[in-house]
Amino acid sequence: MQRILEPGQIEALASRSVPRLVLPARERVFAARATRLEALASRDPLGGYLTFAAALARAQHDAAAGLAPGAPEPGVQAAARAHGMPILPARGLRRGAEWRDALAAILAALGGGRFPAPVARAGLLLGAEPVALLEARAERLLAADGRDAEPAAAPFVIAALQVYWVVLASGRALGDVPLDAAAAVCPVCGMLPLASIVRSHAPYAGYRYLQCGLCASEWHRVRVECTQCGATDGISYQSIEGGPAAIRAETCERCRCYRKIFYQEHDDGVEAVADDLASMALDLLLAAAGYQRASAHPLLWQPAG
């Protein structure tokens, strides 16, 4: 979109720097996600799954409001700063028990007969599970990007972990987070990004941000570059013909992977987790064309193998 700059704006623009990191706000992340999912659910070819996802996000929002995790280990953070590593590493930080409180709250909120029976069943099974098993589940989900995840239980477990990490991340200051120019993983928690968003509002307009699939932090990454392998040649933007202009997949011919990229200028309310899930048709078409997702969707785990 083009606009004419007035005198004074050019100087202001020239002296600004790119906002490199946007930390999540615990009171907004899940509410915005739920609102978006509810809007998308009205035309839901996924048989109500978006409605379920919306309810899950609402439950996450409520759980986040009541969560007060203890301060993360200062040693880990100091070491992270000294070596330019993620400050709240999902695979190194000792998790507080609070994430299990979030899980219990989420399971309680999703109980009842609103959803198909397997939802309640999965909730009951998880709710009765001993701490050691739950911790092992969390460890597996965070350790290898969920390749050993159990698809029916993983959405609830990752939802609780998201609440925990979003709350932790939203308490950080921007200056606390070491930044790498072309970070392939989240500078806050070290997990893989879920998707890209090209923002349309100042001061983020025109920049591409990668959004973390766990803590929802967003970090700047130069556009037209493969977020998986760093290639700058052979990048294409594939979408469904006649489909929404805001939703594309940034595909790479070198590594044959893709992440979706959402253009806020075409749809102001676009939200990475919600729109990625709601655009599953694009995944199926790309899979048929021989491309692979670069990272799993937190609500759409598949059996390993």
């Binding site: 083009q2 070819p45 397997p118 990007d145 029916a152 993983a154 556009r223 990048i235 013909e241 692979q292």
Partner: protein, 196 residues
């Protein structure tokens, strides 16, 4: 290795969907799977380039349709400033902002043309013919006007009657070679990216 397993895991098909969270939690992807059959992929490109107008060399993003990755012809439909470019930060001057019209202009010069002396007609010629003609004219002019020494005997080896303008979007390497070629001929009047 974990990496290989992870990629295996991320294969996304109707079959693998059968064991996914969605189905195991009791929801049905059938509508979505049926819907996909009527959809087609459309491919677009975003290409980073440099504005050709001046030596500020602003970065531009060119939006095109079609399949550049597979060497098919792509059609550029929009050009805007590259927000990531440190020089212009997404902005363009009025000339740069109208690049798309320059690109698709009917009068855009796309091949060498020649107008013979006293003729009103332009005729299309090949690049080889154009190079030969330019080289011949340059040699003729240089033979006539090259100054090896000044009147008081000072060696200068200069050629002042011909000049050269080169593109602003040239790379460092192009700038370097332009400089070497023109200076070695004795040309003093030229302007290109090498001065920036």
């Amino acid at each position: 290795m974990a990496e290989v397993t992870r990629r295996e895991f991320l294969k996304f098909t109707g079959a693998s969907l059968a064991g996914s969270s969605l189905v195991l939690l009791g929801f049905t992807p059938e509508t979505a799977l049926a819907e996909v059959r009527q959809f087609k992929l459309a491919r677009a490109t975003e290409t980073r380039n440099t504005c050709p107008y001046c030596s500020v060399a602003c970065g531009v993003l060119m939006y095109g349709t079609g399949d550049r990755a597979k060497n098919a012809k792509s059609a550029i439909f929009h050009i805007e400033g590259d927000p990531d470019h440190p020089v212009n930060r997404g902005t363009l001057c009025p000339k740069g902002a109208s690049l798309i019209d320059f690109l698709h202009s009917d009068s855009r010069l796309q091949y060498p043309e020649y107008r013979a002396p006293r003729s009103a007609e332009w005729q299309r010629i090949s690049w080889d013919e154009a190079f030969d003609k330019i080289a011949g004219l340059m040699k003729k002019d240089r033979d006539q006007n090259f100054v090896a020494k000044t009147a008081d005997g000072l060696t200068v080896n200069r050629w002042l009657t011909t000049g050269m303008l080169a593109a602003s979007a040239s790379s460092n390497e192009t700038g370097y070679i332009t400089h070497k070629v023109m200076r070695s001929l004795g040309v003093l009047s030229f302007d290109n990216q090498a001065r920036v």
